[in-house]
């Protein structure tokens, strides 16, 4: 089953079409990696799915609800998604209050928040940092907090924009492990933007390869990596594409 259906989606910045996707579906409960070189429109696509920006034409359907230039997702639908930005911005509060933010705005019971926080923090190795001020964290710790902050609300759709860019291998491993667990345990659908093919290979069930705002190829990760039909896709995954 598909959780997202994208139809005739375009986005134009300053007269330049940065995104043009006639059709793309995202399978529910799976990890989809959007790969491609910088400037391919990967982050723009995430911003559109999350409703941060509006498309110029076309629609995105979350299950059956439509989002377009004139239609917005309902607040209830927006709350079923979470987006992790490439740059982890910490709120000027404790690590605990950073991770708890999404639960607090959903008016969740304090005791329940405490339980969820303890679980999430131990998963991501943040238990000792809960009382620390979040703005004093290292890059790797902030990256993990920002992932925990999104995951703790157990979204149906988790969007991640280069969640491990600039992180050391240990932190990358922790975050990738968490992403896999979210899908396995909670059936979370994950859409992760990455320009790291090795990460896409390790994580993804499905691959969407983008170039110049267009989807060049998409499909099951095994097929794309083992038998890419498109030459540009082949060049990218073999590291022969200069960009």
């Amino acid at each position: 089953m598909d959780i997202l259906k994208i139809e005739n989606l375009t986005k134009v910045y300053n007269g330049k079409t940065v995104l043009d996707i006639p059709k793309l579906n995202i399978e529910a409960g799976k990890i989809t990696a959007i790969i491609g070189p910088s400037g391919a429109g990967k982050s723009t696509l995430l911003s559109l799915i999350n409703g941060i920006e509006k498309p110029d034409t076309g629609s995105i359907f979350f299950e059956n609800e439509e989002f377009s230039k004139i239609k917005s997702f309902s607040p209830a639908t927006i709350r079923r998604m979470a987006l992790v930005f490439q740059k982890p911005v910490m709120f000027n509060a404790s690590v605990y209050n950073n991770i708890a933010y999404g639960l607090k705005i959903r008016k969740m019971d304090k005791t329940l928040i405490g339980q969820k926080l303890t679980d999430a923090a131990s998963f991501l190795g943040l238990s000792d940092l809960l009382d620390q001020k979040a703005i004093t964290l290292s890059g790797g710790e902030a990256g993990r907090v920002s992932v925990a902050r999104a995951m703790v609300i157990k979204p149906d759709l988790l969007l991640m924009d280069e969640p491990t860019a600039n992180l050391d291998p240990a932190n990358v491993a922790i975050i990738e492990d968490m992403i896999k667990k979210a899908t396995q345990i909670y059936q979370t659908t994950v859409v992760v933007v990455t320009h790291n093919m090795f990460q896409a290979k390790r994580l993804a069930d499905n691959i969407v390869f983008m170039l110049n705002g267009q989807v060049v190829s998409e499909g099951c990760a095994f097929d794309i990596f083992e038998n890419p039909l498109d030459q540009r896709t082949q060049a990218f995954i073999t590291g022969n594409m200069i960009y």
């Binding site: 999350n50 941060i52 607040p75 927006i78 709350r79 998604m81 979470a82 987006l83 930005f85 740059k87 911005v89 709120f91 000027n92 509060a93 933010y101 999404g102 705005i105 959903r106 920002s146 902050r149 999104a150 609300i153 969007l159």
Partner: protein
């Protein structure tokens, strides 16, 4: 003077604080939300409004005093029937009008200085527009405390507007600044200087309290 427990002096200090703090309270109550809207909302005429607010931030107090005087005057004023002229209420109104654009302008500057990603992160975690605004305000809290300190300082040291609409009436509308002006006029420089020192001490104490509040906010 302070030690001699002069009741008149304590009355003047009390009125100064009452007028300034009441005006500050109402200016914060209205100016902070308006400043937040100005910073976060996109609406037609926003940049013009921002320009107006920024210009009004440097309006001379005597002009505000004059406008309030005309409005409250029982011959010419729109609200002259309430007989508010030369009362502490008139002084509070004048100071409130003086403080409002300052509060709005400083609030929007503080809000606009917060990283845009804070707003987007809150939104992406499911915050409603109101919750996003609350989060941004909470992130800008140090800037808002600073805004209050600046506005408080401006109001406490203000003399033109309160003189014009208050009239510096003994036991009624005399405040520290108008008392200093009067003492100077009478050639009582020593008393005027002493009052000046007391005014400075008041500013020091209140700023100390606001500073403690600011540090408390930083620690939490």
């Amino acid at each position: 003077m302070l030690i001699s427990l002069d009741p008149e002096l304590y009355g003047i200090i009390g009125l100064s604080l009452k007028v300034t703090l009441t005006a500050l309270f109402f200016a914060a109550l209205t100016g902070i939300p308006l400043g937040v809207v100005l910073a976060l909302k996109r609406f037609p005429g926003r940049s013009i409004l921002m320009n107006i607010v920024n210009s009004l931030m440097s309006i001379p107090p005597v002009v505000v005093g004059l406008v309030v005087y005309i409005l409250l005057s029982n011959q010419t004023g729109l609200v002259g029937d309430h007989r508010l002229l030369f009362t502490p209420t008139a002084m509070i109104i004048a100071q409130f009008l003086l403080a409002l654009p300052l509060m709005m302008g400083l609030t929007s500057t503080a809000i606009l200085s917060i990283d845009k990603l804070v707003k987007l992160t809150a939104k992406s975690l499911g915050a409603t527009p109101f919750q996003v605004a609350l989060k941004v305000v909470s992130e800008a809290r140090f800037g808002l405390y600073s805004a209050m300190i600046v506005v408080f300082g401006r109001l406490l040291s203000e003399v033109g507007a309160v003189m014009m609409v208050g009239g510096n009436i003994r036991y009624m509308t005399r405040v520290m600044t108008t008392a200093i002006a009067l003492q100077k006029g009478m050639g009582e420089f020593q008393t005027a200087l002493a009052l000046g020192m007391i005014l400075l001490l008041m500013a020091f104490l209140i700023n100390g309290i606001l500073e403690i509040l600011r540090n408390y906010g930083r620690a939490s």
